[in-house]
């Protein structure tokens, strides 16, 4: 097996040119490997076979670091676009050759400024080509990039930068520079800050500050003056090995301080290639980069996979214009957390709600058609010709334009990852004919643990083990996995590593799940520690309930409480966009978010939603016992700045429960009103407090009904 890969590698360089479309060496290999091995291999039930199945990359394979991939692309697909950035009103484009030049200049500049192999350097800012280049430039020198969430408040930033002992930071603009300046005293190692946008930084002392251009100029001058420089730089890249540390990603863990996940080039590149091969991604993909750089998903999708497959990454003009920009580009491949799809759905519903009666009827009708037949047609099942006709019509009148509005017309593969998605949301997109699939991944695994094949997509499950991944369910129901993508450990935290990573390479995901007997796919219930039981012992999976709630456009966030208590209660966050426009239509007047949230009519509306959720819960024998008995609507939006959400917008239930303990008590002591004062953090970091008197409502539950069997399918 391994021999065969090696064999293929031997005759690669020529291949690449002949194979043309396929991006790079490693990808070619794996593509072939997969073709030999699909489909019966990577099931997790039989570790022996899956063990053999792993197409582990042989160390002698040439392109085992991202900088090497860059050099290769610059040679093999010189003129193809590598990056586009909507800047100054048009899509500025850089080919792979130009990208190489940019990266090289900056990289050598960094070297001149004293960045060495093994150093850590921070990347802070939005999705800008230059920041991606900076990552590669550093890696080319053997230094380790540490991306930080751009919206992190100075506090968090200080922790990460200090913990990673970064010696240099590449940041986007004044905002970030100021944040760093604010905590500079705690960062002894940080010697230099390089910024992309000079705006507003004119009056700053420039001792430790450089512009991106400065550094590139330094690099170019060096290149011009010193003949060997270029050679040395490329040798430096050649020296790099797949086993080298390539990046440290700080996971905003749902509990406690964030940990620095160390990934090697090999980890990421193998996973990337597997993923590319898995969905047959090639140079022609268009991907839009708008998720946080510090999120492993973006690192893989907008960086490693792009370099591996040779496809083009597009950076939007501003965060507000993402939808418009996506529409202009027409992305073909997407990986996003459920939230993105939720907000999109909300947007659709809200905008449709304002449409004329006739249009709405049309929309609703064809939506029902889609719900009925869409998925079947997408999955290639046989449906009556009339249905096909109707769906075709609907596609022309509604689905097509709809997808077009949001730039989804060309999507070949779309993944939802990072968190479980509400099945209804998932089905909605599938029904429109979008090939949306589930993916279960973790930073520790370079994302990919399990993913769904095109022809076995299911709303409730997250798919079978990805190529090269073995999965087990521990006796206490936790998901364990092992793969070439598995991280080498948490930075400066051996204990933490030991807890998660077993000596024989298995990772404790911390998620509870099981393999669905019908589909043979993995099904995730919740975080292991969150799955609880009520006093009477009935199973209680909060996230499961929360997701059901969050399907309603009007509900932005939901927190379900009940572990070790008599019954389940919910705290709900309304969605300002949706409820706001609802209020407009029903001329409900309100002065503030708080006022709107507390409005009796709003409560009425939310109560109905929860009632429906209870009905659906009643239909599942496992969950039937855990129906919501009481709820309240929170007076403020849950916010990462207050530590209520993680930077990836996951709710931190534990933290929220003690933060709002007065409310929680009130929920359980049957009182109908509760007073609370909460401290909030404003965008500029300073703190304030808001007080509110919050109403609590009871809501009736339903007797458990016999489970509908076809629901799983």
């Amino acid at each position: 097996m391994i021999a065969r890969i090696a064999g293929t590698c031997a005759l690669l360089p020529e291949h690449v040119l002949q194979l043309g479309r396929l991006g790079t060496c490693s990808l070619t290999v794996l593509a072939q490997v997969l073709r030999w091995q699909k489909p019966r291999h990577f099931t997790a039930f039989d570790p022996v076979t899956s063990g053999q199945g792993n197409p582990v990359l042989s160390p002698d394979l040439t392109l085992d670091t991202v900088p090497k991939l860059l050099l290769h692309n610059a040679r093999a697909i010189t003129g193809r676009p590598a990056v586009r950035h909507k800047d100054f009103g048009i899509w500025q484009t850089w080919t792979w050759r130009e990208t190489l030049n940019q990266v090289r200049a900056f990289s050598i500049g960094l070297a001149e400024l004293g960045l060495k192999r093994g150093d850590r350097f921070a990347i802070i800012g939005g999705n800008r080509p230059r920041l991606y280049w900076a990552i590669c430039a550093g890696q080319a020198l053997g230094a380790v990039p540490v991306p930080v969430y751009a919206d992190a408040v100075a506090e968090e930033m200080a922790y990460v930068l200090a913990h990673a002992e970064v010696t240099l930071a590449v940041v986007q603009d004044q905002e970030q520079v100021d944040k760093i300046a604010a905590v500079a005293d705690r960062l002894p190692h940080l010697a230099r800050v390089i910024y992309d946008e000079p705006r507003g930084l004119k009056d700053y002392g420039h001792g430790r500050l450089n512009t991106f251009e400065d550094v590139q100029r330094i690099g170019d001058e060096k290149l011009a003056s010193d003949g060997e420089c270029l050679g040395r730089w490329e040798d430096g890249i050649a020296v790099g090995k797949g086993s080298d540390l390539s990046i440290i990603l700080y996971t905003s863990g749902t509990t406690g301080r964030s940990k620095g996940v160390m990934l090697t080039h090999q980890n990421t590149i193998i996973s990337a290639c597997n993923a590319n091969a898995f969905d047959h991604l090639d140079q022609d993909e268009e991907v839009i980069a708008y998720l946080p750089l510090a999120w492993v998903g973006d690192y893989m999708l907008s960086y490693v996979q792009s370099y591996a497959a040779g496809y083009c990454v597009n950076c939007p003009e501003t965060p507000e214009t993402v939808v418009q920009d996506r529409r202009e580009i027409g992305t073909t491949y997407a990986l996003a957390p459920p939230r993105v799809y939720e907000t999109l759905l909300t947007l659709i519903m809200v905008r449709m709600a304002d449409a004329g009666a006739l249009k709405r009827k049309l929309f609703d009708f064809f939506l029902s058609v889609a719900k009925r037949w869409g998925e079947k047609i997408l999955d290639g099942e046989r449906v009556p010709p009339t249905a096909r006709l109707l769906y075709g019509l609907g596609n022309f009148l509604v689905y097509g334009p709809l997808k077009n509005q949001f730039g989804l017309s060309r999507i070949r593969v779309g993944y939802t990852a990072g968190e479980a998605i509400g099945p209804e949301i998932f089905r909605f997109y599938r029904a429109l004919g979008l090939n949306l699939k589930q993916l279960y991944g973790q930073t520790e695994a370079s994302v990919y643990v399990t993913a769904q094949l095109d022809d076995e997509v299911d709303a409730e499950t997250v798919g079978k083990p990805s190529p090269g991944v073995e999965v087990q369910i521990s006796e206490k129901g936790e998901v364990l996995y092992r793969s070439p993508g598995v991280f080498v450990g948490y930075y400066k935290d051996p204990d933490g590593t030991a807890e998660v990573l077993t000596t024989d390479g298995w990772v404790h995901s911390g998620d509870a799940g099981f393999f669905d007997s019908k589909t043979g796919q993995l099904k995730i219930i919740d975080r292991v520690k969150d799955v609880g039981r009520l006093k009477d012992g009935t199973l209680f999976a909060p996230k499961y309930i929360e997701n059901k709630l969050k399907y309603y456009p009007n509900i932005r966030e939901a927190v379900a409480i009940g572990a070790g208590r008599d019954f389940v209660c919910a705290m709900v966050n309304i969605d300002l966009t949706a409820v706001g426009s609802w209020a407009e239509r029903n001329n409900v007047v309100y002065g503030s978010y708080q006022e709107l949230a507390g409005h009796p009519l709003v409560y009425e509306m939310i109560a109905q939603h929860i009632d429906e959720v209870n009905r659906s819960l009643a239909e599942e024998e496992v969950m039937a016992g855990a129906q919501i008995r009481r709820f309240l609507v929170l007076h403020k939006e849950l916010d990462p700045d207050d530590g209520e959400l993680t930077r990836t917008q996951k709710i931190r239930r534990g933290h929220i429960v003690d933060r709002y303990s007065p409310l929680v008590e009130a929920l359980y002591d049957r009182s109908t009103q509760a007073q609370i004062t909460t401290e909030i953090t404003f965008d500029d970091g300073h703190k304030g407090a808001i007080a509110a008197r919050i109403t609590i409502r009871d809501i009736n539950s339903y007797p458990a009904r016999a489970p509908k069997l076809e629901r799983a399918a």
């Binding site: 800047d87 100054f88 009103g89 004044q174 100021d178 705006r199 507003g200 930084l201 004119k202 009056d203 700053y204 003009e317 501003t318 507000e320 214009t321």
Partner: protein, 270 residues
């Protein structure tokens, strides 16, 4: 407003001086024997109660009104009166108290219009809109885009200004003025009718313009806080006469000024 307020650049020589300017409409005396100067690189505030003649002053400076007596020395050359065209060509740009945007045009076109003086390609190239004409358009579009980026209005680039909220329109108007790459920028109540946040933004833009482009700025503003924050020197008008001319702090405690603002029945500071 980040960074130190203290100016590292020393305030340059006089860019424009107004000498004994008087202006009257029919019987009404709008300005009486007003003199003051504006130095290169400074932010100069002109304040005063309503109807003190502030706007008339600006109108005289950029040649929209011809003063009855007195003279204006711009860039060292004295003249009895400016002419709008000459003013524009000489590098005086202007925004207006109540917006004077081209409502029928998009944000982009409005700012592009600001490049009118800089675009020279002949009529016959315009007919085919290719070759040099197009090349010129593209060059200037590029510059305009920098301004759009600077003012953070990329998202509304292609929208008709008439449809924009007031605050944004103000910003676009500033953009149009900047497109002229002026040496002297006259701002007539740039923050009138803005909420706090918008005011902060606008202040930042004004400061940045002054810093990044080194543009000299003369602004009329009612919000004292803003004036104190932004300006290097302040001239105070009342009933069309200069009653004070000093640094912000100096003005704050000048008794004439205080009387003008509080004492007189007509004095209302919006």
């Amino acid at each position: 407003m980040k960074g130190p307020r203290a100016r590292d650049v020393d305030l340059g020589t006089v860019l424009l001086a107004v000498e004994n300017v008087s202006l009257a409409f029919g019987g009404v005396q709008a300005l009486t024997d007003v003199s003051f100067d504006i130095r290169k690189g400074e932010i100069r505030a002109i304040i005063g109660p309503n109807g003190a003649g502030k706007t008339s002053m600006l109108n005289v400076i950029n040649g929209f009104y011809q003063p009855n007596s007195g003279r204006i020395i711009f860039k060292g050359e004295p003249r009895a009166a400016m002419r709008p065209y000459a003013a524009a060509q000489g590098g005086i740009a202007r925004t207006f108290q109540n917006l004077a945007l081209f409502r029928g045009m998009t944000v982009l076109d409005n700012i592009m219009a600001g490049r009118a003086l800089k675009m020279r390609r002949g009529f016959f190239w315009q007919l085919i809109r290719h070759g040099p004409a197009l090349k010129e358009e593209v060059e200037h579009r590029r510059r305009v885009e920098e301004i759009i980026d600077f003012l953070e209005i990329a998202a509304i680039r292609k929208i008709q200004v008439g449809r924009l909220p007031y605050g944004l329109q103000k910003r676009v108007e500033l953009g149009r003025a900047l497109a002229m790459e002026p040496d002297l920028l006259l701002l007539d109540e740039p923050m009138a009718g803005m909420n706090l946040e918008e005011k902060e933004d606008m202040s930042r833009f004004i400061l940045d313009v002054n810093r990044e482009y080194g543009t000299t700025i003369a602004l009329i503003e009612h919000d004292m806080g803003v004036v104190m924050d932004l300006s290097d020197r302040v001239v105070v008008l009342d009933y069309g006469q200069k009653i004070a001319d000093a640094a912000p702090n100096g003005v704050k405690c000048d008794k004439n000024v205080i009387r003008a603002y509080l004492g007189e029945p007509h004095g209302t500071s919006a």
